[in-house]
């Protein structure tokens, strides 16, 4: 915290919050919008893909998989149509970055998508937007109409032979639709049960069993900027293997929660909480931080994180020292996920927080595969009982055991998303869980604890 505080570097959200900027096309064109689409159309599609690969940009949806690599996996020889899908089902608790982009600068996403569609050869693209963003769907539809009118989208884009139809599809309110194969099922009009992989890798057997690329909103916006500055130049932003900027969404008990765009690795978690977000409320101390949306493993305030990086250098961090990029939280045993940083101070009852997270996953489990379906609800029932005065000392170990029976045995990553919070909360705050049983608080308010 002694270092000088780095400044926000806004690339994606450059214009979003300018007072004289609106989500209409004239504002976007005024700020140089759609120039990069023209630039991309001057290149060969493979060259566009090559730039994205060179940029090293990693997916912003949660898993952090290199986007250029994902495009490489695309099965181009099948002769089947190729689809591009923008995953705008932003539902990870603690995450609210894509919403800012779509509501405030939708044309940036459209431009990014059209460049991506050109690169992968998709003639049909979809934006799968979560049901709750009804205003966002309206804004996007208006923006698509504007872009189509101006020839940036739809038939014969920029008077070229390339056409790509873009459709906004609204979900029906399920977290699992953010899982890419679940999203594809939902887009096909079915119940969004994630598919088994193998064989249903979207790049080979995706939407309607055709090769499909699914990218996050922020990732696709980055494509526009990669074309603008070139992959090489883009890769210089941030740190190696952690290129570009990231929008961090800070929520919880800090003075200034909100979204902040920084170069990857430009600041530490401590700087984010205590400097950028104005620190905790007066008199409070930090208890725990979830660094990447509720699925990420929780970090305890007084934990030490030690180990060696891939390059052989060792590190010894406190929670405050964890660099905010992809690899930092990963090295600390958690993940940067979707960039949703949830801060908890000492007034938080950690078991209640756990109960809340568990309630979310039990509510959102699609119910397709056994471990996630039964395990998530069981964990919810246990933690809810604990909060309602029925805690037992053995519950902590039971929770860990249930979580272990889920992790790694499910169809999709929801299993890990549901198991990791429990594993980390219970392991790191075991005393709090034991205390629930041994020192009943007698807190009558807990009897009717409302979850999610």
């Amino acid at each position: 915290m002694s270092q000088q505080l780095p400044k926000e570097r806004r690339i994606i959200l450059k214009n979003a919050d300018n007072p004289d900027y609106s989500n209409r096309i004239n504002c976007y064109l005024r700020e140089g919008g759609y120039q990069n689409l023209k630039k991309a159309f001057g290149m060969k599609p493979e060259e566009v893909g090559e730039e994205v690969l060179k940029s090293g940009v990693r997916g912003r949806g949660g898993a952090g998989f290199p986007a250029g690599m994902k495009w490489k996996f695309l099965d181009r020889k099948s002769g089947k149509p190729i689809y591009l899908i923008c995953n705008a089902d932003e539902s990870e608790p603690g995450t609210f970055k894509d919403r800012q982009i779509m509501y405030k600068d939708p044309h940036q996403l459209i431009e990014g998508m059209m460049i991506a569609a050109y690169a992968i050869g998709a003639k049909q693209a979809f934006i799968y937007i979560r049901a709750e963003f009804h205003e966002g769907a309206r804004i996007l539809n208006r923006a698509i109409a504007e872009a189509t009118e101006a020839g940036f989208c739809g038939v014969n884009i920029l008077v070229s032979a390339f056409s790509c139809n873009l459709v906004v599809h609204r979900g029906a309110g399920a977290y699992i639709c953010g899982e890419e194969t679940g999203l594809i099922e939902s887009l096909e009009g079915k119940r969004p049960n994630p598919r088994i992989k193998p064989p249903y890798f979207p790049a080979v057997l995706g939407l309607y069993q055709c090769p499909t690329i699914v990218n996050n909103v922020e990732t696709l916006c980055n494509v526009r900027h990669i074309i603008e500055m070139g992959g090489e130049e883009f890769s210089k932003i941030g740190k190696p293997n952690n290129t570009g900027t990231r929008i961090w969404c800070v929520s919880g008990q800090v003075m200034k929660p909100g979204y902040y765009e920084f170069e990857c690795g430009a600041l530490t978690l401590g700087q984010m909480i205590f400097d950028v977000c104005g620190g905790l409320r007066p008199g409070r101390t930090l208890k725990a931080v979830i660094p990447g949306g509720s699925s990420a493993k929780v970090l305890k305030a007084d934990e030490r994180f030690t180990g060696t990086h891939k390059d052989g250098t060792s590190f010894d961090w406190g929670l405050e020292d964890i660099p905010l990029d992809f690899d930092g939280p990963m090295a600390a045993g958690s993940m940067s996920g979707s960039g949703g940083i949830i801060v908890m101070d000492d007034t938080v009852d950690i078991v209640q927080a756990m109960a809340n997270v568990n309630a979310f996953y039990a509510h959102e489990s699609c119910g397709q595969c056994t471990p996630c379906r039964e395990g998530s609800l069981w964990m919810r029932k246990i933690t809810q009982r604990m909060c309602n005065g029925g805690a037992r000392e053995e519950d902590a170990d039971l929770l860990l055991s249930v979580a272990k029976q889920i992790e790694g045995r499910t169809i999709c990553a929801f299993g890990e998303a549901a198991a990791w919070p429990t594993q980390s909360f219970v392991t790191k705050f075991k005393d709090d869980f034991i205390k629930k049983a041994t020192e009943p608080s007698g807190d009558v308010d807990n009897k009717n604890l409302q979850l999610i």
């Binding site: 088994i196 193998p198 064989p199 397709q368 595969c369 379906r373 045995r409």
Partner: protein, 566 residues
């Protein structure tokens, strides 16, 4: 089944032992071929892979190769180093490839199974004492293998509907459902009647019918068979019988020429239910609902239980004597049946040959559903062809008999299981002929008959049929027939002996087949009944390729003469 001749075999390492398996089959099947059962719920060999129960998790690895050179990476002891997939994989969706390593019995695999079992049971009602599935329940079976033996679950169990009527024949207990989706996939993929689905989500997911629809197709009871737990139950069989009391008999469904292989479950001589038996060349693991109800014929009201002469009950031997009197020295005709077994048809042919009686035979036809209910609603029309009862394809009536009768050319008729009046034969033409009726159920012809000889249904006798693909299949006797009755072959043999100089002697069904072998025109080859008991045998049907068979292409059936033979 898989024949090793046309399938490429590959070597995999299963639990440390090198074994040969057909290339591309999944790990569950591969392990089963070598005696290692991988428990599973959602996987069904005849349905698409869903991979949702997670019970078949196994460890999988492949020999590691150097990325640069492509050479195998070796362990210190010189054996190839195996790159094990870090997470367990589902066996049902893991297809074997050369050199693959599988562990189906490791500690991790057992731990996975124990975990899944516990999860499946936490919200399960555990009402085995009143559950129809008890005794044939995969949940029970694997719970004994991988269950904890006590419950760590002290929370309240989920509550779901207990008695949902999914259709006229299927009742659902949602609390027992483990959401394996077999029934949904069956409805979509086999019955082609997409009416089932899940509503709600997570552990509250509930199987139900789509609004305004019901599970009423003619294959609905297969969902009950494939339900690995007691969620889907047959409304007919529900709460009737504990399955461990049932005696099982291999049988063949007589409903149509599809000839589904079946298992007849009976107790103390009473049939309780009929279920399909797997035959990958005929019916896979399915059968029709209508075929399952045929057992009700055994105890139906119009069943003929006593031999009679002019409506007066007599012992069987006296009725047979009277029949012989009726038929001796007369111009007689024989009305044969496509419902008869091959053995009965062989004897019918012998009887007609010895007495010089003309044979009349009709077919029974209905709509072909393209699956397992074929247009030919008799089990053995092809048997009638093969045994020489007819050279032409039977019509759906007996107008030729009517013509003969109207010309007054016949005095007596031996009618086997056929209703003449319902087959375009006018009643006035029957006034002047005496009828010997040999059949199982009363109809207008039996009412007109002078002598009525009761016979046994296909559940009460052994026999064989030739199905639509000319596969000869045998069935065994499931339950005893009514007291005092004899099998049709016995009655026919006595009639033959009474009507001709030479006696027909046989001590078993094989010898009846051998009687046919002496016939020059015999087309059944050199097989006999007992050859069929283990598996059906394909008969060469090309001699009849010119006939216009009623069946259309269906499951495991391509019509003769159709170039696209499979």
């Amino acid at each position: 089944m898989i024949s090793s001749t046309d399938v490429e075999m590959v070597t995999i390492t299963l639990n440390g032992k090198e074994v040969e398996v057909p290339n591309g089959i999944n790990a569950v099947e591969a392990a089963a071929l070598h005696g290692s059962e991988v428990p599973h719920y959602c996987y069904h060999p005849k349905l698409s892979v869903a991979g949702n129960c997670r019970m078949c998790l196994v460890e999988m690895g492949t020999p590691m190769r150097d990325r640069a050179t492509g050479d195998s990476i070796l362990e210190e002891d010189g054996s190839p180093k195996i790159g094990w997939v870090p997470k367990p994989v589902i066996g049902c969706a893991t297809n074997v490839s050369p050199g693959m390593h599988l562990r189906t019995e490791s500690d991790l695999v057992h731990e996975c199974r124990e975990g899944i079992m516990e999860f499946l049971l936490v919200n399960h009602p555990l009402d085995c004492p009143i559950c129809d599935q008890a005794g044939e329940c995969r949940l029970q079976e694997f719970a004994t293998d991988y269950g904890r033996g006590y419950s760590r679950y002290i929370e309240r169990k989920n509550v779901k509907p207990k008695r949902t009527r999914l259709g006229p024949r299927v009742t659902l207990d949602d609390e027992r459902c483990i959401l394996c989706s077999r029934c949904i996939r069956f409805s979509q993929e086999v019955a082609k009647d997409d009416v089932l689905g899940f509503v709600d989500r997570g552990s509250f997911s509930t199987l139900t019918c789509f609004p305004g629809k019901e599970l009423s197709n003619n294959y609905s009871l297969n969902t009950v068979d494939i339900c690995p737990v007691g969620a889907l139950t047959s409304t007919d069989f529900r709460f009737k019988m504990r399955v461990w009391f049932l005696k099982e008999t291999k049988s063949i469904c007589p409903e149509s020429s599809a000839a589904c292989n079946t298992t007849i479950s009976s107790r103390e001589g009473v049939i309780q239910r009929i279920t399909p038996r797997r035959n990958d060349l005929v019916n896979d693991t399915w059968m029709t609902d209508s075929g399952r109800e045929l057992y009700k014929d055994v105890r139906s009201e119009n069943r003929i239980l006593r031999p009679s002469v002019n409506k007066i009950d007599l012992p069987l031997n006296e009725a047979i004597d009277r029949s012989i009197q009726c038929l001796t020295g007369k111009r007689i005709g024989v009305v044969a049946s496509c419902h008869s077994t091959v053995e009965e048809q062989i004897l019918t042919k012998i009887l007609a040959d010895r007495t010089g009686a003309p044979i009349f035979i009709r077919g029974h036809f209905g709509e072909d559903d393209g699956i397992l209910l074929s247009a030919d609603r008799t089990p053995n029309l092809r048997g009638a062809l093969a045994t020489g009862l007819t050279d032409t394809y039977p019509d759906d009536n007996l107008t030729d008999l009517n013509d003969v009768l109207s010309r007054g050319e016949l005095d007596s008729l031996l009618v086997i299981n056929e209703d003449l009046v319902g087959s375009s034969v006018s009643e006035e033409n029957l006034d002047n002929v005496s009828i010997v009726y040999l059949g199982t159920h009363r109809n207008q012809s039996s009412e007109l008959a002078e002598v009525v000889l009761p016979s046994l249904t296909s559940f009460e006798k052994p026999g064989s049929y030739l199905n639509r693909s000319f596969i000869a299949q045998a069935f065994e006797q499931a339950v005893p027939g009514p007291v005092g009755l004899s099998p049709q072959v016995e009655i026919l043999a006595q009639l033959i002996s009474g009507l001709s100089d030479e006696k027909v002697r046989y001590s078993n069904l094989d010898e009846i087949w051998k009687l046919a072998h002496s016939d020059e025109k015999n087309l059944l080859g050199e097989i006999t009944f007992s050859d069929l008991l283990l598996n059906g045998i394909q008969i060469n049907g090309s001699a009849w390729a010119h006939l216009n068979f009623a069946e259309k292409a269906a499951l495991h059936f391509t019509p003769l003469g159709d170039s696209s033979h499979d």
